[in-house]
């Protein structure tokens, strides 16, 4: 019996999950850095400014993925049971608060007012980062998604891609590498090691049932393997870790800003491919009628 992966949630939803995670992660990091003093102000502002447009564009990708976007205004009608409803409320809350916060930053508003919005927006941001994993985890027939590790993995990836986006923008806008940027990069290296461990444990935990084993096989050796090994493992983990943590290139005199920018670009791309891999490998449980099993048709 050949188990087949779902096909309804693919690139459109992966882009929505990625951009909303990146935007929320960048914003939450920026809001936190705002409390660390003047030296971190530039990075903080970049994170806060990134939040609203990234999540807004993510929302457009979500609308594009709907079969009937004209009914999308009803999306928050059932927050008592539906994670999409809850996510829609979180998204709208985040967009509202982050937009106001963005205006305050551009206008150079008072620190106290910025901090208030930062805390509120930060809470929405964390909720948005966790929600994307919880949304998938609530689909119980797909064992590859239905695990508590997925929200953790997506949250970690969101924080990482958000921080990497901040570093990339900072380097492009002329921020010197030495100082806060290099300090942040060291923190990112620690998170990358943590993410690697979480990815390994996530794939290891799929041994429970045949359908999640089939998903893991698809990811590691099947049709999704190129996306995983190139996109997630190489671009998302190995290159940023190798360039940043091992410091090899710097030891040979390469320009640190270029190295850091390359690591950030690869890490951000890896975050996108991670969402696509998880979606593409979602295999639902077969129907079980006594000793007989039937793979669901492609959904």
């Amino acid at each position: 019996m050949e188990l087949k992966a779902q096909t309804k949630w693919r690139w459109g939803l992966a882009t929505y999950l990625f951009l909303s995670g990146l935007g929320a992660g960048a914003y939450a990091a920026g809001a936190y850095l705002d409390h660390l003093g003047e030296a971190w102000q530039t990075l903080s502002n970049i994170g806060i400014i990134l939040g609203f447009p990234c999540v807004a564009v993510a929302g457009l990708f979500k609308l594009k993925q709907l079969g009937r976007p004209q009914a999308a205004w009803r999306a928050w009608m059932r927050p008592q049971t539906s994670w999409i409803s809850r996510g829609s409320i979180m998204l709208m809350g985040f967009l509202g608060v982050s937009f106001i916060h963005l205006i305050l930053v551009i206008a150079g508003a008072d620190e106290g007012l910025r901090h208030v919005f930062g805390v509120i927006g930060g809470i929405f941001g964390v909720a948005l980062m966790l929600y994307s994993g919880v949304l998938l985890a609530a689909a119980r027939p797909i064992a590859f998604w239905s695990t508590a590790m997925l929200p953790l993995l997506f949250m970690l990836s969101s924080v990482l891609t958000g921080l990497m986006a901040i570093i990339l923008i900072a380097l492009i806008t002329g921020e010197p590498f030495q100082g806060v940027v290099s300090n942040l990069e060291r923190f990112i290296a620690v998170l990358l090691v943590l993410k690697t461990i979480v990815v390994i444990f996530y794939l290891q935990s799929t041994h429970r049932v045949p359908e999640s084993r089939a998903s893991a096989k698809l990811v590691l050796t099947g049709s999704v393997a190129p996306l995983f090994w190139f996109g997630v493992a190489l671009l998302g983990l190995a290159i940023p870790l190798g360039l940043g943590f091992l410091d090899l290139i710097r030891a040979y005199g390469a320009e640190p800003k270029l190295v850091a920018a390359l690591a950030a670009i690869c890490g951000i791309a890896g975050g996108f491919f991670l969402r696509q891999v998880v979606l593409a490998a979602g295999i639902p449980a077969p129907l079980r009628a006594g000793r007989f099993e039937v793979a669901l048709p492609i959904i």
């Binding site: 019996m1 779902q6 309804k8 949630w9 993925q65 709907l66 079969g67 009937r68 976007p69 004209q70 009914a71 999308a72 009803r74 999306a75 928050w76 009608m77 059932r78 049971t81 539906s82 994670w83 999409i84 409803s85 829609s88 949304l135 609530a138 689909a139 119980r140 027939p141 797909i142 979602g282 639902p284 449980a285 129907l287 079980r288 009628a289 006594g290 000793r291 007989f292 099993e293 039937v294 669901l296 048709p297 959904i299």
Partner: protein
């Protein structure tokens, strides 16, 4: 209040697909949507290999995952346990498709003709089916079997039950202990599909042998 349910006798089903065709004819479902469908399953190895057809419909679960995850309220459940989808409210997020353990929900973005190589407009029969489909359903939204709700309200059997030549399908009130379906479940030791999901489906299956 009656809770409508199915009993499907796996001993009798031989995979003629009459149910699938009858459902399509009665409900005018487009290509890519099958509310009632049959799938072959094999188990074991020679010389003890077994083959069995598994007929399927929407299981009309007592605790439907599709209703839980629906964000717009398009998915509702009536007093007889039948789960409906409101075509005007559904936004096509496909979350119900992911959440359903039984693959009962499907969606198509447009009407797919069964005769793509034919020239010109749809033939009259397909044009009629398209018109009928668009009266109560649409494109981009989730659609599902509703136990032929209109036929049942008119006192008739669902199309797949009526068409089965082997009389493998039975329809009735699960709440009535003296109904045919309740007696069959007790007597023949009926079981539900994938009970681990806790959905308590209204479709019961009788063992194949």
């Amino acid at each position: 209040m009656a809770r409508y349910g199915f009993v499907i006798d796996l001993k009798r089903c031989y995979g003629c697909y009459s149910c699938q065709v009858a459902c399509k004819a009665a409900n005018h479902t487009p290509q890519g949507i099958d509310w009632a469908w049959c799938r072959p399953s094999e188990t074991g190895k020679f010389p003890t290999a077994l083959r069995q057809m598994i007929p399927l419909v929407c299981q009309q679960c007592a605790d439907p995952a599709c209703l839980t995850v629906c964000p717009t309220g398009a998915t509702t459940q009536d007093e007889n346990g039948i789960v409906h989808v409101d075509a005007d409210i559904c936004m096509g997020c496909k979350y119900c498709i992911m959440a359903c353990p039984y693959g009962a929900r499907q969606t198509v973005p447009e009407w797919n003709t069964y005769f793509p190589d034919a020239e010109g407009d749809l033939d009259p029969y397909e044009a009629y089916a398209k018109k009928e489909w668009e009266k109560k359903n649409g494109y981009g939204m989730a659609s599902k079997c509703d136990f032929c709700h209109d036929r049942v309200q008119a006192g008739r059997q669902p199309a797949c039950v009526q068409s089965c030549p082997a009389k493998a399908r039975h329809f009735g009130d699960l709440e009535d202990p003296e109904s045919e379906v309740s007696i069959l479940i007790r007597r023949e030791r009926g079981f539900q599909l994938n009970p681990e999901f806790g959905a308590d489906p209204a479709c019961w299956y009788l063992p194949p042998r």
